[in-house]
Point group: C2
Chain length 348, copies 2
């Protein structure tokens, strides 16, 4: 994959336009930076309003969940997927708040048949292997899962999606995410392991040991992202990597969510350098692995509200800010239009 | 003014309801706290969606602006008020993003007649006195301006406003704001003075000297908020104090903006203890006086995006989060409704 550059000319035009708007230069802070990024992403200044904001929730189970790394039992993954379909989850409510729609794809939920409404072609396998003891999947499954993500990105972008919000659901999925981040950034398990859905000290120790054992298995593959996904990732993570990388390849901006999506973004950047420039970080998670991933990607989250739910929720809450950035640059009057006196300050 | 308590029973019910929603306890972070606050504010659980979100921009000029404390000339106040009326300012664009409407009230703009569309009864005077050398206004004007704020709050609340966003416009208005915060919290000028609209070192020194001189005049009145407003505030600030205090008295939640609105909230709290509990801080400003005011009020901003525009913009960007908090608590499915297994963790 060859990741394109942002449109530098559009970004220069956006920066120039910001200076003409009826406000002191820089007074809208990060909203101004965001608006300039959007101009670069869209290749036009001012940037257009978004026409189709889409949250894509990739669902999958994880063998390691049976070792007790989560506060919730594995069957909750399928139950939550049904909750998404019924519109009752946080991701549904928060998507509606910002005018986004939600699609759920069962890539590897551990149920006999794929979730209702999910395309059966995108179901790679039931759950993943216990990454602390065995591979998450076969090499063929890893490629298939990655291509599932690519195919979903293509479908969404072809349908007009101009802002993509990858989300996820899977009991235990913060464990492979932490392992991937630790492997790629050469960190110790204790540095990256957080409390996930809210685990106690006992489960934290189990989770840390699981990541330690996974790292032992994954470290030989740190320079081969697809092999790393095969050994200590999961089909859902591989699909997220494909989804994010393809969106970047096709010039579609991505708002990143919590630790799972950010771990996938880190793998995507390793697989196809330049992906990160097509992304913005929505919310800081309380999971330490997310912080390391974002630092490595050079991203600073827009929000820091103590969110740790995943699903895409942290990104969706930030979408309102992205929309605000677009609207201010596109719709505010200029000093000339408003007939307003320029700054009198000698320093400009 | 007697400021009511929040509804404790509704807050307990909201906390209990949060624990039943289909997510790990606490996983929505500050959105959960906000939702509980909204239940307490509205006196009902779950809280209702907002029906009328209203930004009220109080405009006024400041004599001290003629001393060169701002990067913009004083006539920009009236020009920006016209820009608000034409819908071209940041406050207009950001209000539309969150479904809010904007009202602009000329309380003390330094023009021969009040701004078009502003109620002439609410015009207290032309500009304010140079607070570093003379009173901002007379005692009678201070009372009138405060009552203007009360009257606006009454009009808005009677019209159905259930979320109030006070805003402001006035070249030089961060100077009296910083002086009020320094006086009430016993701080030095250098601690509270920021760069306002973007001033250089020379203007920063002028501004600091102006606050120093204002403080000398205002310090005798630190235990009498109305006298403090008279000596080193301004009609616009007094109106903001009345607006915020009356909203709290009438159980209407307020989203606080930048340094000017927060300075007014600090005065309102001194005037009528308990006001702060009806407020939430929208965005951290780069003005140091705002940080001191919020710390004293016990408020932590929802956003920290480097905004320093005022007008109500920092609060409006945060309104999206307040709406998201309401929606999640009111609309998410419970574990029972979704048929989802409870946490298995022994520690709950």
């Amino acid at each position: 994959m060859l990741i394109p550059e942002l449109d530098a000319a559009a970004m220069v035009a956006a920066r120039d336009r910001q200076a003409t708007l009826t406000k002191p230069p820089g007074a809208l802070g990060r909203l101004e930076d965001l608006s300039i990024w959007l101009a670069g992403v869209q290749g036009t200044c001012p940037p257009r309003p978004f026409e189709r904001i889409r949250a894509v929730v990739i669902a999958g189970d994880h063998g390691v969940a049976h070792d007790g790394v989560s506060a919730f039992p594995p069957e909750v993954t399928a139950q939550m997927v049904a909750n998404f379909a019924a519109g009752g989850a946080a991701v549904n409510i928060l998507a509606a708040q910002v005018g986004a729609t939600v699609r759920v794809v069962d890539v590897s939920v551990d149920t006999p048949v794929e979730a209702a409404g999910s395309d059966p072609r995108y179901r790679v396998r039931r759950g993943s292997g216990r990454i602390n003891a065995e591979d998450a999947m076969t090499a063929e499954e890893a490629v298939t899962a990655f291509e599932v993500g690519v195919a979903i990105a293509d479908e969404e972008i072809d349908a007009g999606t101009d802002l993509l919000v990858p989300g996820e659901m899977g009991i235990g999925n913060t464990t492979p995410s932490a392992a991937l981040v630790a492997a790629l950034l050469d960190l110790e398990p204790v540095e990256v392991i957080g409390r996930g859905t809210g685990i106690d000290d006992q489960r934290w120790m189990v989770k840390t040991a699981a990541v330690r054992d996974a790292l032992r298995r994954g470290r030989p593959w740190v320079y081969d992202p697809m092999e790393l996904l095969r050994t200590i990732g999961g089909p859902d993570l591989a699909a997220l990597v494909g989804l994010i990388a393809r969106a970047a390849e096709r010039r579609t901006p991505v708002v990143l969510d919590g630790v799972v999506v950010c771990a996938a973004a880190l793998v995507a950047e390793a697989h196809a350098p330049g992906v990160a420039r097509w992304t913005v970080a929505g919310s800081r998670s309380s999971e330490p692995a997310q912080r390391f991933a974002l630092e490595s990607l050079g991203l600073e989250p827009l929000l820091d509200l103590g969110l740790r739910l995943g699903e895409g929720t942290g990104a969706l809450v930030a979408v309102g800010l992205v929309k605000a950035a677009q609207a201010t640059l596109a719709e505010m009057a200029t000093f000339d239009q408003a007939g307003i006196s320029d700054k009198s300050g000698p320093s400009g």
